[in-house]
Symmetry: C2
Subunit: 380 residues, 2 copies
């Protein structure tokens, strides 16, 4: 057991506030239960076996992933009910079959006849009825068939007749990330629900099975008022939250569990700049708040304890340099931040910032307890 304290960490590095993370997880777990749906958390944000233990209802899942590398690592750790929520390409089916043979029920996602034919063929070849969901598009954001697309029934029939397992339908309301406020997000949630429920009705009306009706994104999962017909809810970034989510009022800035610890390495006094060692390599290049009402630059500046310093953001970033300065029109008092001062920066986008790091340093709920270190993985 290590005895690492915050003051022992070399900067920049990634911090997780365990108490805030637990609160975020508990909030959505309770909400999903109140709506009568199973929560299938997306592990793409954390990519950590230790973090997954906090968020999963059971040892084996259910879980959502965005890469086969995630599926392989989580399966190795005993998580065996996994949805791979990115459209399957035929050349990846060998790895899908290998995961099934290793005891992981990996569900694939698709939205085309060509994919359905490839999954059916792989099912026949392997003797494994590969479970598959059909992706439904509710808002033109990215992938999926619309609920009324004639191909929906064709895809369902190819899977069902071809030896695969037709599990159901899935929708992700990606446009909800641009909807500001609970009311607007509730509209997205209802649109998402409507799309998957309509699609499931069409499949069942033609005699096809559709046991799972899956919906969700972090904004819609927190805003949905009624999920009649939906069986499962997905969300990912809520575990940590971030400035983009705060900017659309899904959470408060106080709900952000992830930050980057940084040290002041210089000043440009005439320009009012403080230079720190959190550049884009530590923060990521994500500038999700640039298109929001308040542009938070490369992140909001907090003191070492995590308290927001009013007025200060990281206005620009190079690879290993962050430039801290006030918001454009800020005219309040600013603290002195001498060389060596340690600060925390709250990120635009938790998924992107976490991806720049190999470890989480976890500030424990118990004051004065040592920090845990969780390994974070990447790759595909």
């Amino acid at each position: 057991m290590s005895d690492v304290r915050l003051s022992d960490l070399s900067t920049p590095c990634l911090l997780v506030d365990e108490a805030i993370m637990k609160r975020n997880i508990d909030r959505l777990s309770r909400y999903a239960a109140s709506l009568g749906v199973t929560l299938r958390p997306h592990l793409k944000t954390t990519k950590s076996v230790e973090a997954a233990r906090y968020v999963l209802a059971d040892e084996y899942g259910p879980a959502t992933v965005s890469t086969l590398a995630e599926a392989e690592i989580f399966a190795e750790a005993g998580i065996t009910d996994i949805l791979y929520a990115v459209g399957i390409s035929p050349d990846k089916l060998d790895r899908v079959v290998a995961l099934h043979r290793a005891g992981c029920r990996l569900i694939v996602l698709l939205d085309s006849i060509a994919q359905a034919e490839a999954v059916a063929a792989a099912s026949k070849d392997s003797g494994i009825a590969i479970p598959a969901m059909i992706e439904i598009d509710s808002d033109g954001h990215r992938s999926g068939l619309t609920a009324d697309d004639p191909a929906l029934i064709d895809v369902g029939r190819i899977l069902n007749a071809g030896g695969a397992e037709l599990c159901g339908v899935l929708c992700h309301a990606g446009e909800s990330y641009g909807a500001i406020g609970r009311a607007a997000q509730a509209v997205c949630a209802e649109q998402e629900r409507r799309a998957v429920v309509d699609a499931s009705d069409r499949l069942r009306d033609t005699g096809l099975p559709c046991p799972v009706v899956s919906a969700g994104s972090t904004p819609t999962a927190h805003a949905a008022k009624d999920l009649t017909g939906v069986t499962e809810l997905r969300a990912g970034v809520y575990v940590f939250f971030d400035l983009v989510m705060a900017g659309i009022e899904v959470c408060d800035v106080d709900d952000i569990a992830l930050s980057v610890l940084t040290t002041v390495i210089g000043h440009q006094t005439t320009r009012g700049w403080t230079i720190c060692d959190a550049g884009w390599m530590a923060m990521s290049r994500d500038r999700g708040t640039a298109s929001q009402r308040v542009d938070q630059g490369y992140g909001v500046v907090c003191d070492e304890s995590g308290k927001v310093i009013p007025g200060l953001i990281v206005i620009q970033a190079n690879q290993e340099h962050g430039v801290i300065a006030p918001y454009p029109k800020f005219d309040g008092d600013l603290p002195d931040l001498p060389l060596g001062t340690r600060l925390r920066i709250l990120p635009n986008h938790a998924c992107a910032t976490a991806a720049q790091h190999q470890h989480y340093h976890v500030i424990p709920v118990e004051a004065d307890a040592p920090l845990a270190s969780w390994r974070r993985f990447g790759g595909w």
Copy 2:
């Protein structure tokens, strides 16, 4: 010895074209020699011991790095002449001293009296005269003292009298990344040269030593016409080049040695979209061309062999999805890209894209030879 072919690779993954990389390296090596300066390549772009061997003049260096983790890993590999070109914070001096004790001559960078005092104190405490360069600012881009700043002499004296080793002055013309064309970049190069030479003159005029006069960025290193008074040149991204460098005419698109191999995973025919598995996790969130004359989206699309497909870019990206579509006003013919088609995407910013990956898959100069795999590291 592995026998990996391009067709064996699972996507997305990172490719390096060895022939192009060698050509880029040779071009700048010859140019630096013609200007009579030592080239000290920046290893922050590649972060790979194998790649470093191509770019370094000698087994031991000289090299530039952006993190102490780079210094530690490269020192372990026998590279012992290293400049850490990010302003030093006092809490990192323990690791600097440890590197010296392990046989690495690590040069630190600073631009303030507080840093100079800390380096002098660490030199005294450790009995090691820590070599230090003073950072000079030629264009208001980021860090450094202007050549006429009174603090320059104070910093030099504190280092020289305090037990550290005053090595010289260093300038990085960061604004040159916004200068379009060789002529404009030559102006930045002369401004950068002028700033460090003026600073070195001031130090020497007061009797202080200044053996090293270091300048450079990829744009200025390729554009400088005369480097009188400069002893060493630095550049990093030229090894791979990227769309940002092509956009300011430092290189051609054909000079880009780095790409991401991707597979088509779907289509949204009514919107004219092809969906691939290179999202921002594989490409990075860097959108450096967004402010250039031609916005290349998340990257330029090539066929599997690396030939640019005219008209196609990645117009948007989610974590594991890239959306391929034509430039806004493109009206030429577009190829059919069915499910499973493999493509390469050229990146906006090689440093940022490479940082998303743990390996380089190296397409060898010799046709039909197997691909090498180089480990890439991250962290601080």
